[in-house]
């Protein structure tokens, strides 16, 4: 199949140079000593000036973590991580805690400018006039700045780093932190609970529709530094918020660990839309380096008729282990998961979702598009379950996989458990290849091989793309092309 072979060859050529976010910012940082111990946990907590209860919470997690084993069930392979060989805290020296834009180190502003992230409040995203997006910028272990805070505060929306929220709204943090992902949840989530660095905190008061998109950009900069972000979003009764996170990291030969926890809570009639564009460094063409993205994301539809929607575009990381899930606790609540997962080179993705139906008349929808190219491995793993009391639970799942070349793998692992006979669960899955004939048809119309693959893949993921906030769609389409071709863009 020569045309496909050629595409595969091109895809294989993907060079580290093509990862345009791979630069390193030379900035002085303050680090904790290498390794993990109770002292390190205390060090982090002290650096952040945390209250006693939070230190105890961290220590409890740490002690718990010591008794746990790394999960082995995912369809991914990697050498054993030496958790003592990592730094657990690193912060740019100039920025001990979030500041106003004027005070941020110009070196950092430069970094975000290079990443194409608007930190100036009047700035707009490339190509989208008038779009205003509030940004929380997290650099290694700390948040360096949060924009539009005052304007959001007028609407009653709290948007800050978690570290700051611990100080300014301790009652909210204490009430909700760990209430969706308990510290005992799983190996990486427990580790995160012990050493979490920073992340975003959002609270939207009852009846408020958040007046702009909120977003966080995560950047791992330092060598051998784990990033353990913790994000907590609470949408109070009848409120709405749309939030987007983006992630990049420099190119490094060694693997970097990113073990985040994201907790969402939606109370009665509230809605949270959470989108991710994950573009961590994927490693080079030989499979060296890249980020280990071991993430626990969970939303709790705690109130009646609440709704949580996850949309993810996963193109980066050497390994992705991630299952953004919804607990459909409130009667009539709804969960959605829309995913585009693209693996290329030697990337490994094991991702999917869990929809746990607990309340009556709960519904969920899963649309997953996996695209595997190069030597990559791409697994969709999903669980849909209905509790005994979940009368009339409904789920629709559609998982499509697209293979480019014949050295890659795509797998679908759906689990379904219905303990209530009234549950209606539908599952559809397809696996296809980009056909030689489709490619040739495009080439004969003057498209290059890169354009042809990008076009076909963008068509394949269309159902999911349209769930991303408008402001990010064009950017994401471009990212999809880049991650597949290495030679486009």
């Amino acid at each position: 199949m020569p045309a496909v072979q050629e595409t595969v060859a091109r895809v294989r050529e993907i060079d580290v140079d093509k990862y345009k976010y791979g630069f390193f910012t030379d900035i002085e940082s303050v680090k904790a000593p290498k390794g993990l111990s109770e002292d390190i946990v205390r060090f982090i907590s002290e650096k952040k000036g945390e209250p006693e209860w939070l230190l105890e919470w961290r220590l409890e997690a740490y002690r718990r973590w010591l008794t746990m084993n790394e999960p082995a069930w995912a369809n991914v392979k990697y050498p054993k991580i030496d958790f003592q060989d990592l730094y657990y805290y690193s912060a740019p020296k100039s920025t001990e805690g979030p500041k106003s834009l004027e005070e941020v180190d110009p070196e950092l502003l430069e970094t975000y400018a290079k990443l194409g992230i608007p930190l100036k409040e009047q700035a707009v995203l490339a190509g989208v006039q008038g779009a205003r997006v509030a940004v929380d910028a997290v650099f290694d272990s700390v948040s360096v700045v949060t924009t539009f805070k005052e304007e959001l505060a007028k609407a009653g929306v709290i948007f800050s780093s978690v570290s700051e929220a611990v100080k300014t709204h301790p009652e909210l943090v204490r009430k909700y932190l760990g209430s969706v992902v308990p510290i005992t949840d799983n190996y990486y989530a427990t580790l995160n609970s012990a050493v979490f660095s920073d992340g975003s905190f959002v609270y939207v008061p009852p009846g408020v529709r958040c007046p702009m998109e909120l977003s966080t950009y995560f950047r791992i900069n330092e060598k051998q530094t784990g990033q353990f972000e913790r994000t907590l979003i609470i949408a109070d009764k009848g409120s709405y918020v749309s939030y987007l996170e983006g992630c990049t990291a420099p190119m490094r030969d060694e693997n970097q660990l990113h073990a985040a926890v994201v907790e969402l809570v939606a109370l009665d009639d509230a809605e949270i839309k959470y989108s991710t564009v994950q573009n961590w460094y994927p490693g080079d063409k030989a499979g060296k380096g890249g980020v280990y993205n071991f993430v626990t994301k969970r939303g709790d539809c705690r109130g009646a008729h609440s709704k949580i929607s996850w949309t993810q575009v996963e193109t980066g990381s050497a390994i992705t282990w991630k299952y953004p899930s919804c607990i459909l606790r409130g009667d009539g609540s709804r969960g959605e998961f829309y995913s585009i997962a693209i693996s290329n080179g030697h990337q490994q993705i094991d991702s999917g979702t869990k929809m746990i139906h607990l309340g009556r008349d709960t519904s969920s929808r899963i649309i997953s598009k996996g695209i595997a190219a190069g030597h990559s491995n791409n697994t969709y793993r999903g669980l849909v379950s209905a509790h005994r009391k979940a009368t009339n639970a409904r789920n629709y799942t559609n998982c499509d996989s697209l293979l480019i070349g014949d050295k890659c793998g795509a797998h679908t692992v759906p689990y379904i458990e219905a303990k209530n006979a009234s549950a209606t669960f539908e599952h559809e899955a397809t696996t296809s290849k980009i056909s030689e004939d489709q490619l040739f048809y495009c080439l004969s119309r003057g498209l290059s091989a890169e354009e042809a693959v990008a076009l076909i893949v963008n068509g394949f993921v269309r159902d999911v793309l349209q769930h991303l906030p408008m402001e990010f769609m064009a950017e994401t389409q471009k990212l999809i092309s880049i991650s597949l071709e290495g030679s486009v863009g």
């Binding site: 199949m1 004969s444 119309r445 003057g446 498209l447 963008n458 068509g459 394949f460």
Partner: protein, 249 residues
């Protein structure tokens, strides 16, 4: 001018074209006829550069340039256009998006400016109207769920938009009712010009009532078995391909 000399081509290791000669001067329209399996589509694919069609001997030049040395994209840019017998479906890609990507890729490669959105829309609407294409069709994913007639008209639309100098139409009439054949033929005739050459492949004479060729070539067993004026097509209508089937056996 298109010059095909002693063209041999294999598909899956089996020889399908067995020394084909054909000359198509600039500005002329030639019909290629022949029984099923005689190699008509194979010829079309070889001209467009499909990869599993392996040329083992012979030459193809287009205005003196070696066509076989170019990849399919380069051929499209150089002005070669194939209207497919079976156009491909591309789910999720709006027809309009596809057309725009193709037009701008080709324009860019030809050193022309890309069309602005309003200019492009005007250009498409005008050409689509002439082909009686419903603008709604252009919003649907490329060829997905299109009727036979819609698919073929969409091919001619692409031909009109890409402004090729060598058009190869592979059984553009097959599966169409007579009204649809007329629409398609009108579209093709509108593109006839002294700078443009066309190779109209068809199994039936019917299409040639509407697209009157300068010459007719009959393919049989991978070679041109006979060439003649438009009257040859009429003769075939009476006698059928029996004579040529015999040769192929």
């Amino acid at each position: 001018m298109l010059e095909i000399k002693n063209l041999h081509a294999n598909v899956d290791g089996r020889e399908i074209l067995k020394g084909l000669d054909l000359t198509l001067p600039t500005g002329e329209v030639h019909a290629v006829m022949g029984p099923n399996g005689s190699g008509k589509s194979t010829l079309a694919y070889v001209l467009a550069g499909k990869e599993d069609y392996e040329v083992t001997a012979g030459t193809v030049t287009w205005n003196g340039e070696d066509l076989l040395a170019m990849d399919p994209t380069e051929r499209a840019v150089a002005g070669v256009f194939l209207a497919f017998q079976y156009p491909m479906e591309i789910p999720g890609v709006a027809t309009m998006t596809f057309l725009r990507t193709a037009v701008n890729s080709v324009r860019k490669a030809r050193g022309e400016a890309e069309l602005s959105t309003p200019d492009f829309l005007r250009f498409v609407r005008e050409k689509a109207k002439a082909l009686k294409i419903d603008p709604e069709m252009l919003k649907r994913p490329l060829n997905v769920g299109f009727s036979g007639g819609e698919k073929k008209r969409n091919e001619i639309l692409q031909m009109a938009l890409l402004e090729p100098s060598l058009c190869v139409l592979d059984e553009t009439d097959s599966g169409l009712d007579i009204d649809a054949v007329r629409v398609v033929a009108d579209g093709v005739n509108a593109l006839r010009s002294p700078e443009r050459s066309m190779l109209v492949i068809t199994h039936y004479q019917r299409l040639l009532n509407y697209i009157v060729p300068d010459r007719v070539h009959v393919l049989s067993d991978g070679r041109v078995a006979r060439s003649g004026g438009p009257e040859l097509a009429l003769e075939l209508e009476d006698t059928g391909y029996a004579e040529f089937d015999g040769q192929a056996a």
